[in-house]
């Protein structure tokens, strides 16, 4: 890691009772036996708060706007789980639509994702295989490492990945003849260890198209407390709000900031007229499911879910997205 000192490096660090991505200052704190981190690397590439610019308007003068002085630095995120890298690729799609989000891409283009294939599921609720991923999926990665007996089998998929490997130099050696086979075996073994699956998920998106007014949403959302855990911890949720935060009203000065926003909050769709088109928990749960498994599929031909299991593991009232999807699948049968 010392050879990579031009990069800002993030890696999973063990906290008292959980894992989280932290900026590292010494390589000793890296451990690669991590379970699912509380937050995905989304928090680094698309931070919860981002200052667009500062403004200042002293009376009688022309208003002044100033962009933040520092540019995002080259960053390596180390030990990323495949589901979380898929999450980044989904964010890429959204921020690369008709409007290219400069703020996002400034960071994203400077980010190198170094992944670690899962030999055992890092959460009891992992279900990546059901949503088109796998414990060794390579999408989004510049580099993927697979742990074999006493070394890592390392694959690079991009120029950024090659650069990193060249920088590290002699810690790498040419793989032995049978290593590739061992790696493939490790990969197929890891798939067998997944405990949770959704069968026939492909039948869900077409079915959802006719379920907008279904009573299922009310039934499934009865215990929902409408907090922001499921969406804030989700590696794919990307909704945001932009607001002006004032430091002083006279003279007028402050910052324009972007912060995450959340479809489960009551003011998310609140109109200034007082009308709220999604007035209750049922319509908000419906939105979460519809966005991930209907609208996103239509727009980007992929589920907006990577099977990381965070929303299930952390829901304070045990709402289980797998169970909800199964109920949608079997609804009316």
């Amino acid at each position: 890691m010392r050879k990579l000192n031009v990069y800002q490096i993030y890696a999973p660090v063990k906290k008292e009772s959980h894992w989280s991505y932290e900026a590292l200052d010494k390589p000793e704190s890296i451990r690669l036996d991590h379970l699912n981190t509380i937050q995905s690397p989304k928090m680094i590439i698309f931070p919860q708060r981002e200052v667009f610019f500062e403004f200042h308007n002293a009376e009688g003068n022309t208003p002044v706007m100033k962009e933040p002085a520092s540019e995002p630095s080259a960053t390596v995120i180390f030990g990323v789980r495949p589901c979380d890298a898929v999450g980044v690729t989904h964010q890429d799609k959204v921020f690369n639509g008709d409007f290219k989000d400069l703020y996002y891409w400034k960071r994203r283009n400077q980010t190198i994702l170094v992944g670690l294939a899962c030999d055992t599921p890092p959460s009891p609720h992992c279900f990546c295989l059901s949503v088109g991923g796998s414990p060794h999926f390579t999408a989004g990665f510049d580099i993927l490492m697979t742990e074999l007996e006493d070394f890592y089998y390392v694959e690079s998929f991009s120029k950024k990945g090659d650069t990193l490997i060249n920088l590290a130099g002699d810690i790498f050696s040419t793989p032995k003849e049978n290593s590739k086979k061992d790696k493939e075996k490790a990969h197929s073994d890891s798939e067998k260890k997944l405990k949770r699956h959704i069968k026939n998920l492909e039948t869900v998106p077409p079915k959802l198209k006719n379920m907008f007014d279904s009573p299922l949403w009310e039934e499934e959302s009865l215990s929902c407390i409408q907090c922001g855990i499921c969406t804030y911890l989700c590696p794919t949720c990307h909704c945001f709000d932009i607001s002006d935060e004032l430091d002083s009203s006279s003279p007028l000065s402050g910052k324009r900031v972007r912060t995450w926003d959340n479809c489960q909050f009551p003011d998310f769709t609140m109109h200034s007229s007082g009308h709220n088109p999604r007035p209750d928990r049922a319509s908000r749960l419906r939105q979460r499911i519809m966005h991930k498994f209907n609208y996103f599929v239509t727009n980007y031909q992929a589920y907006q879910c990577t099977g990381c299991g965070r929303c299930i593991a952390k829901c304070p009232v045990g709402i289980d997205i797998i169970e909800v999807l199964e109920k949608v699948r079997d609804y009316g049968k």
Partner: protein, 343 residues
């Protein structure tokens, strides 16, 4: 100890007989061993009802939804809702009654006693059984829990995996109920505010450092607020939803809508949010500790509320949720109240 069959029978009796319109209780989830809140509308559904040391959720929370639902109905079903209530939860019912948020005839309380133990703390359980797969945790007749893993059953002393709040609990069985399952036990913990001592002994700087680190972690998901049975304001300071805007409301007025707390999860904004919440719960929090359990980033929120519970006790000799006949702490004044803060 509560016999689950007795609880099911009591629940069936009132649901079948039409005494209640539905029952709020617990069931097993699709995956895992932890109970989840469940709503039982048909007597036959009650086969899924469970009661075990993972029933930590304070179901009183759902009485808020029931009240709001009823307000939206033209001809609401006026029958009460059946609800499974632990000792701590029962005090939450009392606070809602005391504050006239609900009426006594709105609820049919199926009280369950925690007996000699209480609820487990999931973090402690995970640490204790690191790497093992747990399938069930049960009460037993002793001061311990019976934990079933893939390797078999083991008895674990309650103190090893107990929720912190349960070690300081004074109400192991409900103080208000229509029917009580299990023993009517009173507990007198040696030091009901013992968990605060370490924090109280810290210097002001140490306390500041501690809370600065803890509250900086906050991602403002508001799970602590949303899971709290006491947080029932129509409009919370963090989400402005009731600001009336009419076609002729001028733009300046809309723009000048007061923002009490910014959306940014910065340390100072997080402090404001958590301080507002803590103060609003003074003399109302029953220490069910659901806020701390729900927090996805492990902020020890219980400290804040427990401290205010202690202040209420020491300054005003006020115990939360025991007596619905006395006026609520924050809406009453007595001549003997200390008022040093005014002088």
């Amino acid at each position: 100890m509560v016999a689950l069959e007795d609880l099911k029978q009591e629940a069936k009796n009132v649901l079948e007989g039409g005494t209640v319109k539905y029952i709020i209780g617990y069931k097993k989830p699709a995956a895992g061993f932890m109970a989840v809140p469940a709503f039982f509308h048909k007597p036959e559904d009650l086969d899924a009802l469970v009661w075990d040391p993972t029933c930590f959720h304070n179901l009183v929370l759902f009485l808020k939804d029931e009240k709001k639902r009823k307000l939206g109905q033209k001809e609401p079903d006026e029958r009460p809702v059946g609800i499974v209530v632990k000792g701590c939860d029962s005090r939450a019912v009392n606070v809602l009654l005391q504050e006239n948020y609900i009426d006594r005839e709105n609820v049919y309380i199926l009280g369950v006693s925690c007996g000699k133990t209480g609820m487990v703390d999931l973090k402690k359980v995970r640490k204790y059984f690191m790497g093992k797969i747990i399938s069930q945790i049960d009460f037993n007749e002793n001061e311990s829990f019976t934990v079933t893993t893939t390797e078999g059953k083991v008895e674990v002393p309650a103190t090893d995996i107990f929720a912190d709040r349960c070690t300081e609990c004074r109400t192991a069985s409900p103080v208000i109920h229509d029917v009580l399952l299990g023993e009517d036990s009173v507990r007198t913990p040696e030091n009901p505010f013992g968990s605060l001592e370490e924090m109280e002994n810290k210097s002001q700087e140490q306390k500041w450092d501690f809370w600065q680190e803890q509250l900086t972690k906050c991602i403002r998901c508001y799970a602590c607020r949303s899971i709290c049975p006491m947080c029932y304001c129509d409009e919370c300071v963090v989400d402005t939803i009731n600001f009336a805007v009419y076609p002729d409301t001028p733009a300046e007025e809309k723009a000048q809508k007061i923002k009490w707390v910014e959306k940014s999860p910065t340390t100072s904004e997080n402090f404001i949010y958590h301080m507002v919440r803590a103060i609003h719960l003074a003399g109302r929090c029953v220490d069910c500790a659901e806020c701390e359990r729900a927090c996805p980033v492990d902020i020890p929120l219980r400290f804040l509320n427990k401290k205010l519970e202690k202040e209420s006790k020491e300054l005003f000799d006020y115990d939360v949720g025991y007596d619905i006949e006395i006026p609520a702490l924050i809406s009453s004044f007595r001549d003997e109240d200390p008022e040093d803060f005014i002088r």
